[in-house]
């Protein structure tokens, strides 16, 4: 903790001062710690004399990844930086913060830096700084919430130093990566920093509304280090020190405790600011109590009714189980995207099935889902290690589903939930099982709330599952749930949730029961429901609820939602449409319906060989002749894929052997992140019955070799789009051939030619989107 009373003055810009002292554009200001320490010490001294109580060491951009090929190591620079700050401080009452900035490289999913690598890079810096004896750590000018999370964990897990953190926002109220001030604030608060706020990018006037938003969702002390206004066309900052101080004072009036300057500010800005604050007292802020979860770009307050999508769960879904067991995330991605387009604001993620390593799969699933969908996630498992692996890599503040009221479970789960700052669902069952009366369930809820608070988890982060059990077994179970909701809400004042569809288990017409139960519960004050968010009847019911509860102005949502449904309910007329036609025109729904109709009479293999493949061949020929072009080819291929999904599900249900004609690895080589070309090849190969093991982009050489060995692979496709990554392609080919010279390799990508492909040792050059099928036929036979 920082334990400060009253305003605390931070320092101003270091870079601006060093540029004035002769630093060139593009040079590392941190190297001056070693090459011209007197210049750095001089800047620190000037800020201390101006009144700074905390100074930041000159060490923002020196992760070892950034210093590859440079003349100093991270350790040398950080040690020198902290030493210089100490020399400048002398014996004055000033604290030294280890200054850490962004790593300057984009993380996954957009970039190539993984969460785990990011953590290690910060850990290295933090350990050196702590060893040099800094008083606290500052993590500033961050624009990616994920990077911030890795940095905070690196500090918290390796030191006991307090953390001040500030992110940089643009004038649209978001960071470059789209992160909202609220998402930043609740995530960093949950992760246990000591103070947080905003620095850089904007002047004080523009930061004002942003820090105001932050102040509404956290009780932690606030920090602002603004630029000297906005830069002009030449990139110069022109706001004068007095104007800066006056504007910063308005920010101070919001109750912001830690104040200083960023780009363009100098010691006189700190002098003026201090003067301006002399007659003011630090305002005490109103205590905020918000229940909220978030992803970086979606901040979700838990008010009104919140739908939680239940469909990412392998229970009772053989196809999903089989895919997870193979490490294939595509079906999960599809469920995530389709649910996000339905009625839901949070996605539950459950990957628990005996066939998979749940810990590893949860990590992969969370990373994959958050790369394509921006809804907050709910990490669902009974395995604490799996929960932690999901929590760790989640970007934002998630929900944990779930903890029971058993003492030993709470003892295990709560420290982890607290550490990662998540909200959680407490199940109203304990050592004695599930009580069949509301008072019994309420007692368990009461115990959960009391214990969680003892562990430092705020009451606002607790959601109680009042438990829906099937009415077919016990006729009063819906009513018991209702009365439990009443008690929990009235007496404990926490949020409530139900796994809605359990209520109808074993009954016919489940949707009707589910939806009626859901509306009953909402009327009783239910806050959240785990539902099927793509079920048309559930969406209808919820739209009706919104309308009747006065939440749908002019009945707009209801009417537009109803229109869609009317269209969908039209009976399908397939008399005039052939498989060929539907596929060539990319008519997905029609093709799916045709496939389902065919399945009544023919086997899956027959449908593939006699209908889908010939239709695909025709499309391929049109493409080669130039009658259709790339987007149309892909559309047809994707349409066919929807039909294949139906067939695969049908096969998985029967449990019969799969229809794969051969396993093929596809990967974009290390260092490269272009994957559209690879994705196109994947769809086309899958359509022809090959099982594609898609290793993704930026794939390490070892990983490709490892999977090739493990699965006894005969064909590998590699993609690269940069002249700079062709070398990695060549290295990858060499390693594969070293492992087994019989493995065939096909390569593709815009900068490649057939001749070059041969030169780097590839067996085949994929010249266009359909060439890969011929290669595969060559190797696996027709």
């Amino acid at each position: 903790m920082l334990n400060d009373y009253g305003f605390v003055m931070l320092d101003g810009a270091m870079g601006t001062m060093l540029t004035e002292a002769g630093l060139k554009a593009g040079e590392k200001p941190e190297f001056l710690n070693i090459e011209a320490p007197e210049k750095v010490i001089d800047v620190h001294k000037k800020y201390i004399e101006a009144g700074s109580n905390i100074i930041y060491s000159n060490s923002f951009g020196v992760s070892s990844r950034k210093l590859i090929g440079e003349r100093y190591t991270t350790e040398e620079v950080i040690r020198a930086a902290v030493k210089n700050a100490k020399i400048a401080r002398g014996d004055r009452e000033v604290r030294i913060a280890l200054g850490l900035g962004s790593l300057g490289e984009m993380m996954e999913p957009m970039g190539t830096l993984t969460f785990e690598e990011t953590y290690e890079l910060y850990k290295e810096q933090v350990l050196i700084g702590a060893d040099e004896g800094v008083d606290l750590v500052v993590i500033e000018t961050i624009t990616d919430l994920y990077e911030l999370k890795a940095a905070i964990l690196a500090v918290k897990e390796n030191t006991r130093l307090p953390i001040i953190t500030t992110m940089s926002f643009e004038d649209n109220g978001r960071t470059f990566s789209g992160c909202l001030p609220e998402s930043f604030a609740i995530t960093a608060t949950g992760l246990g920093v000591s103070a947080l706020g905003v620095n850089c990018s904007l002047g004080p006037d523009e930061i004002y509304p942003i820090i105001e938003r932050v102040s509404k969702v956290t009780n932690l002390p606030l920090v602002v280090k603004a630029n000297a206004g906005l830069p002009n066309f030449q990139g110069e900052y022109t706001m004068k020190s007095q104007e800066f101080a006056k504007s910063m004072a308005k920010i101070a009036d919001l109750g912001v405790q830690y104040l200083g300057g960023c780009c363009g500010t100098r010691p006189e800005y700190i002098v003026e600011l201090k003067k301006e604050l002399e007659d003011r007292e630090l305002k005490s802020r109103r205590v905020v109590k918000v229940s909220a979860v978030c992803s970086p770009v979606k901040y979700l307050e838990l008010k009104g009714f919140i739908g939680v999508g239940e469909k990412i769960n392998p229970t009772g879904k053989p196809y999903l189980k089989e895919s997870l067991a193979k490490g294939n995330m595509d079906p999960i991605i599809r469920e995530a995207i389709s649910q996000s387009e339905g009625y839901c604001e949070i996605l539950d993620v459950n990957v628990g099935t005996p066939e998979v390593d749940e810990v590893k799969t949860m990590r992969e699933a969370v990373k994959t889902i958050q790369s394509v969908v921006d809804l907050p996630l709910q990490i669902d498992s009974s395995n604490l290690v799996a929960i932690e692996s999901g929590l760790r890599v989640y970007n934002g503040k998630p929900v944990v589903n779930s903890v029971t009221g058993e003492f030993d479970k709470m003892e295990e789960f709560f420290p982890i939930i607290k550490k990662y700052g998540a909200a959680f669902i407490g199940l109203t069952l304990d050592e004695n099982g599930i009580s069949d009366n509301p008072i019994g369930r309420y007692r368990v809820a009461e115990r959960i709330v009391k214990t969680a608070i003892e562990y430092g988890i705020p009451k606002e982060d607790i959601i109680i599952d009042c438990l829906a059990l099937t009415v077919s077994a016990k006729e009063d179970s819906a009513m018991v749930a209702m009365e439990t909701i009443d008690l929990v809400k009235e007496r404990l004042g926490v949020k409530t949730i139900l796994g809605v569809s359990n209520i109808s288990f074993g009954l016919p017409g489940r949707d009707l029961i589910n939806n009626s139960f859901l509306l009953m519960a909402i009327a009783r004050g239910l806050d959240m429901g785990i539902i099927n968010p793509t079920s048309p009847s559930t969406i209808d019911a919820l739209r009706a609820y919104e309308l009747l509860w006065g939440k749908d102005k002019g009945a707009e949502k209801y009417i537009s939602s109803h229109k869609d449904n009317v269209q969908e309910e039209k009976p399908f007329e397939n008399k005039d449409i052939s498989v060929d036609y539907a596929l060539s025109k990319g008519m997905e729904k029609e093709l799916v319906d045709l496939t389902k109709a065919l399945l009544r009479e023919k086997s899956e293999l027959e449908i593939i060989d006699s209908y889908l493949i010939p239709a695909l061949d025709k499309v391929g020929i049109s493409y080669e002749k130039g009658e259709i072009f790339l987007p149309q080819l892909i559309k047809s291929a994707s349409t066919a894929q929807a039909a294949f999904e139906i067939l695969k599900e049908s096969i998985a249900k029967k449990g019969s052997e799969n229809i794969s004609k051969g396993d093929i690895i596809l990967a974009t080589v290390k260092g490269d992140i272009h994957d559209i070309g690879k994705n196109i090849v994947k769809v086309i190969l899958e359509n022809y019955g090959y099982n594609v093991i898609d290793l993704g982009k930026d794939v390490a050489i070892e990983k490709i070799v490892e999977v090739a060995k493990e699965r006894n692979i005969r064909l590998i496709g590699l993609s690269a789009l940069m002249t700079t990554t062709l070398k990695n392609m060549e290295d990858t080919i060499n390693e594969i051939k070293k492992y087994d010279s019989q493995v065939k390799i096909m390569v593709g990508g815009a900068v490649l030619t057939g001749e070059y492909a041969k030169r780097i040792g590839a067996d085949y050059y994929v010249s266009d989107a359909s060439a890969d099928v011929e290669i595969a036929k060559n190797i696996f036979g027709e």
Binding site: E27, M110, L113, F176, P631, G671, I676
Partner: protein
């Protein structure tokens, strides 16, 4: 600084997509229009520029020196050079990757539209610099980017560093020199008091020369 996407060149997009000049069906045409509108709506283009005096191929006030025959030729009469960088922002990348999971054909179209959009922004920036300089009686060379001619693609990284793009416009480079967000450009324009006849767009200076898809079809990528 912020900037808006104005005109996106549709013929450019069709070329990226490998369209060979046949007529377009209405459905595809609509999809293209929708994608252009969507890019305009969701992208958050930003740009930054700075001018540096030249001492041969070194930029004064920086530690950057260009090497290569084509850049030497480009800047032979230039007294100063403008570096600029621009990006459509990260949301475009996320959407392309989302579409590539849910609707691949749309992802491919979207990717091409985004490429054309960033090109149109470059043209706009170039134009505004041209206006400003011509008022002072100065001329611009053509716009050049790392990867053109024999100018190494790694210079993107140096330009980003000198312009501090990570902090100023959210543009970073990976270890292998890929710019992220993906739909980004770094560019170099020489400023001279002599009008130049040199055209960097000639195919002989292009990294793709020898295996260019456009040339195979008897066309060139810059044909309007």
């Amino acid at each position: 600084m912020n900037i808006k996407i104005k005109n996106v060149d549709k013929s450019q997009i069709l070329k990226y997509l490998g369209h060979r000049g046949d007529s377009l069906d209405q459905e595809f045409s609509n999809e293209l229009e929708d994608s252009i509108e969507e890019i305009k709506r969701i992208s958050d283009p930003k740009w930054i520029m700075r001018e540096f005096n030249l001492k041969e191929l070194s930029l004064e006030g920086t530690n950057l020196t260009f090497e290569g025959e084509s850049i030497k030729e480009l800047l032979k009469t230039s007294k100063s050079v403008v570096l600029f960088a621009t990006t459509l922002g990260s949301k475009v990348d996320l959407l392309i990757s989302r579409y590539s999971k849910s609707n691949l054909s749309k992802a491919v179209i979207f990717d091409s539209v985004a490429s054309a959009a960033v090109e149109s922004i470059c043209e706009e920036i170039e134009y505004s610099i041209k206006i400003e300089k011509s008022e002072k009686g100065l001329f611009l060379t053509d716009r050049f980017s790392p990867g053109y001619g024999d100018l190494k693609i790694q210079y993107s990284k140096d330009i980003c560093r000198v312009l501090d793009t990570g902090r100023k416009i959210g543009l970073t480079t990976s270890q292998t020199g890929i710019m992220i967000p993906r739909k980004s450009v770094t560019a170099i324009i020489g400023v001279s008091n002599i009008k130049q006849s040199y055209r960097e767009r000639g195919c002989t200076n292009c990294m793709m020369s020898g295996h260019c898809e456009f040339r195979k079809r008897g066309s060139v990528c810059y044909a309007k």
